[in-house]
């Protein structure tokens, strides 16, 4: 009886989708914040300020500290929201897996300098 109940709970795969998509949002946040910092000097300064607010030695590593911060904020916040939104739901996991792969590919392009320069032009 207990085992059946446990398996029923675990069959809800929403938490898998939440963890996977939150990781993707985290790396996308990194890529987007990098792209924004290339496009705007003001945004670059703001991003650096965010990093300086809490990362030790952020002065030495520049705006990278803020981009890391946005990755962590995007990842943590989206995981929290998606966890509560999807934890009791059964979702079509193959769609989320595909979305994860597309998101990671976009994030990779956003940190590839030749691509960033094309967009910045």
């Amino acid at each position: 009886m207990m085992t059946e109940e446990k398996l029923t709970i675990l069959k809800k795969n929403g938490q898998v989708a939440a963890a996977m998509i939150a990781a993707m949002i985290g790396v996308l946040s990194l890529g987007i914040s990098h792209m924004i910092s290339v496009l705007s000097e003001d945004a670059k300064l703001f991003i650096h300020e965010v990093g300086k607010a809490w990362i030790p030695g952020a002065e030495g590593i520049g705006p990278y500290s803020g981009k890391e911060s946005f990755m962590l904020i995007g990842w943590g916040l989206s995981w929290l929201i998606l966890y509560f939104a999807l934890r009791n739901r059964d979702v079509k996991l193959s769609h989320y897996t595909l979305l994860f792969m597309i998101g990671i590919s976009i994030a990779t392009l956003l940190v590839w300098t030749p691509f960033v320069h094309i967009i910045a032009k």
């Binding site: 446990k6 069959k11 989708a17 963890a19 990781a23 990755m71 193959s94 897996t97 994860f100 940190v111």
Partner: protein, 197 residues
């Protein structure tokens, strides 16, 4: 009779392990205290943290490759060693975190006056702008991915053997993290070869 044989086998195994540990510790002490490590590390004030970062990265690749292999077996539906995968994925996630933190510390040296960034910008700007920048960013990718995969492997450990969709999701995540890890490691080694901190 069978019990005696099993006991003898266990005692032989224990003797081999004990011998191996004793020899390793002995050689470790001899090499550790007699080698001129300062010469090998160089004079940079960042030599220690650079070495630590390199060790985390190397360990990450070794453990990450073992995790990647088990993840591939998981994706194919051939995995039996679920417990091994859970443990290796957990270690991989911890190493991804440690490599990122130590990477932050060494990045200060990279950007500092007279550091590699200045050298590359003056001599080979593409090395910094394309390869290093790419490495520094995708080097962070394995952290959230490995943590998410580890979470799923522990949380859904009962479902994994029977749910192909969850296996596929985790298998893909591990494959992505491993691929990124290899790219970062190769780029890191290549850039360090041109100029270390």
């Amino acid at each position: 009779m069978a019990e005696t044989t099993s006991r003898e086998r266990n005692s032989l195994k224990n003797a081999v392990i004990a011998g191996w540990v004793i020899l390793t510790v002995f050689l470790g002490f001899v090499l550790g205290f007699s080698a001129p490590w300062e010469d090998l590390m160089g004079e940079s004030p960042f030599a220690s943290i650079a070495t630590i970062h390199g060790m985390f990265a190397t360990l990450g690749v070794i453990i990450g490759s073992a995790t990647g292999y088990l993840g591939w077996r998981l994706l194919l539906g051939h995995l039996k060693a679920y417990r091994d995968l859970r443990i290796l994925a957990t270690i991989s996630a911890v190493l991804a975190f440690l490599a990122a933190v130590s990477g932050n510390m060494i990045y200060t040296a990279y950007r500092g006056e007279g550091g590699p960034r200045e050298f590359f910008k003056g001599n080979f700007p593409e090395i910094h702008e394309i390869f290093f920048e790419f490495k520094e960013f995708i080097g962070l990718f394995p952290l959230p991915i490995a943590v998410a995969a580890t979470f799923i492997l522990w949380k859904y450990r009962d479902s994994l053997p029977v749910d192909e969709n969850i296996r596929n999701a985790v298998g893909v995540m591990i494959a992505v993290a491993w691929t990124v890890l290899m790219i970062v490691f190769v780029l890191g080694a290549a850039i360090t070869k041109l100029m270390a901190v």
